[in-house]
Amino acid sequence: MSNEPCLLTPSQTVGPYFTLGLTPTRDETGFGPLITNEIRGDGEPITIRGKVFDGAGVPVNDAMLEIVQADGNGRLDAPEFPGFARAGTGEAADNSYTFKTVKPGPLGGDQAPYICMIVFMRGMLLHACTRIYFADESANPNDPVFSRLPADRRETLLARRVETADAVSYEFDIHMQGERETVFFSLADAI
């Protein structure tokens, strides 16, 4: 069977009501979340927390974030490791998002560890992809992607480590516009 080349289906916004289908909370009818804000697997347990700011510096209360990552050993295909999670802003009073995951290991070569993040929200007609690098990693300056970004914009991809007595968390804010606009990537084949 020969396949005909096809034209891409255009993107549209997730709109304000995506929680209904993408981040539902379970009610008595039983339809609950299929994808949560948690990833369990090998590696150091960490929490990632932050806010999404619009061009006026206001925290967005209806953004959806997805993360894709390797486990602590740098594996993307470990059994029982989905490497994928999703969280919305707007549940927490301060409009922050939270992921509970493990710190990824590097994939190999010169790559530093990082997490891929996809940003969706009402008002975005097309999602945007970024990467979360860890500010405490010495491999960052040699990472082939991080090191090739304009020096004054690299910092937008750094998550800051915060240690308390019993937990490790990283803070990572996203700025859609302005002086601190987060670096977003086009995956060459996507956009």
């Binding site: 396949n3 005909e4 080349p5 096809c6 034209l7 891409l8 289906t9 255009p10 993107s11 549209q12 916004t13 997730v14 304000p16 009501y17 995506f18 209904l20 289908g21 993408l22 009610d27 008595e28 009818t29 039983g30 339809f31 299929l34 619009d54 061009g55 967005v60 894709v68 993307l76 295909d77 989905p82 994928f84 994939l107 070569g109 010169d110 790559q111 891929c116 996809i118 969706f120 009402r122 008002g123 975005m124 007609l125 097309l126 999602h127 945007a128 992809c129 082939p144 992607v145 859609m176 516009q177 606009e181 977003f184 990537f185 086009s186 995956l187 060459a188 084949d189 996507a190 956009i191």
Partner: protein, 243 residues
């Protein structure tokens, strides 16, 4: 990036869609493929991660007429929505997760942020999900959604639509979109629909399909979804392959 790919998607900011102005990134995205092509470290997570086949929806998740019943049937016109998920070469994408959400027949979402003065249907949640089969095919049974007002401009109404999220094998193919219905007079007036380049808009409109229509039961609509492939070289750059 080829022009064909560029022209499918709406821009990040679109004047007539007011909330895009402060929310879409202002700077051009950095081409990740170009950065990675120069390195010897191997491909990154974006091109190596594979997400297909990792999700297992529940048995009734694809049937929105049954997945939230509280002792009665949802009101409205039952519809079957079905189609295939393909990549640009026309190859089916099996095991892709499709999640949908929509308003009820009266144009109301079961969502705390929806203050439209239309009735809530106690037997309709408006959310469903399914995975594609080996031929990339998916199927939902649901209720024809109603049009609803929004506050973008005076007398603004969204055309009837169903929101779709698609997670296939590649991250490049991640897609969130909306499916519209043929003949809807509101399409001509909708800035979200119009933000899509004119040549690509028609791909967002489902086709009425008598073959999918079930006698004495439900109208059928056909909606195919084409997503970017798994990092393979675009077909149009290399002529037609053996395909």
């Amino acid at each position: 990036m080829s022009g064909k790919r560029q022209s499918a998607h709406p821009p990040y900011t679109y004047r007539d869609y007011k909330s895009s102005i402060l929310r879409g990134p202002a700077r051009d995205p950095v081409d990740l493929g170009e950065l990675e092509a120069k390195q010897s470290s191997g491909a990154g997570v974006e091109s190596r991660a594979s997400l297909a086949g990792r999700f297992r929806p529940g048995e009734l998740d694809h049937d929105l007429t049954r997945n939230a019943r509280r002792g009665g049937e949802p009101l409205g016109e039952r519809i079957v929505v079905s189609g295939r998920v393909l990549d640009e070469s026309g190859s089916p994408i099996p095991d892709a997760l499709i999640e949908i959400w929509q308003a009820n027949a009266g144009g109301r979402y079961l969502h705390k942020a929806d203050d439209h003065d239309a009735p809530i249907d106690p037997n309709f949640l408006g959310a469903g999900r399914n995975v594609t089969d080996r031929e990339g095919r998916y199927r939902f049974l649901t209720i024809q959604p109603g049009a609803y007002p929004w506050k973008n401009h005076h007398n603004a109404w969204r055309p009837r639509h169903i929101h779709f999220s698609v997670i296939g094998e590649s991250l490049a193919g991640r897609l969130v979109t909306q499916m519209y219905f043929p003949g809807d007079p509101l399409l001509d007036l909708d800035p979200i629909f119009h933000a899509v380049p004119a040549a690509a808009r028609g791909r967002l409109i489902a086709h009425f399909d008598l073959g999918l229509t079930q006698p004495e039961f439900a109208l059928g609509y056909h909606f195919d979804i084409v997503v970017a492939g798994s990092g393979a070289t675009p077909r149009d750059d290399h002529g037609s392959g053996a395909g």
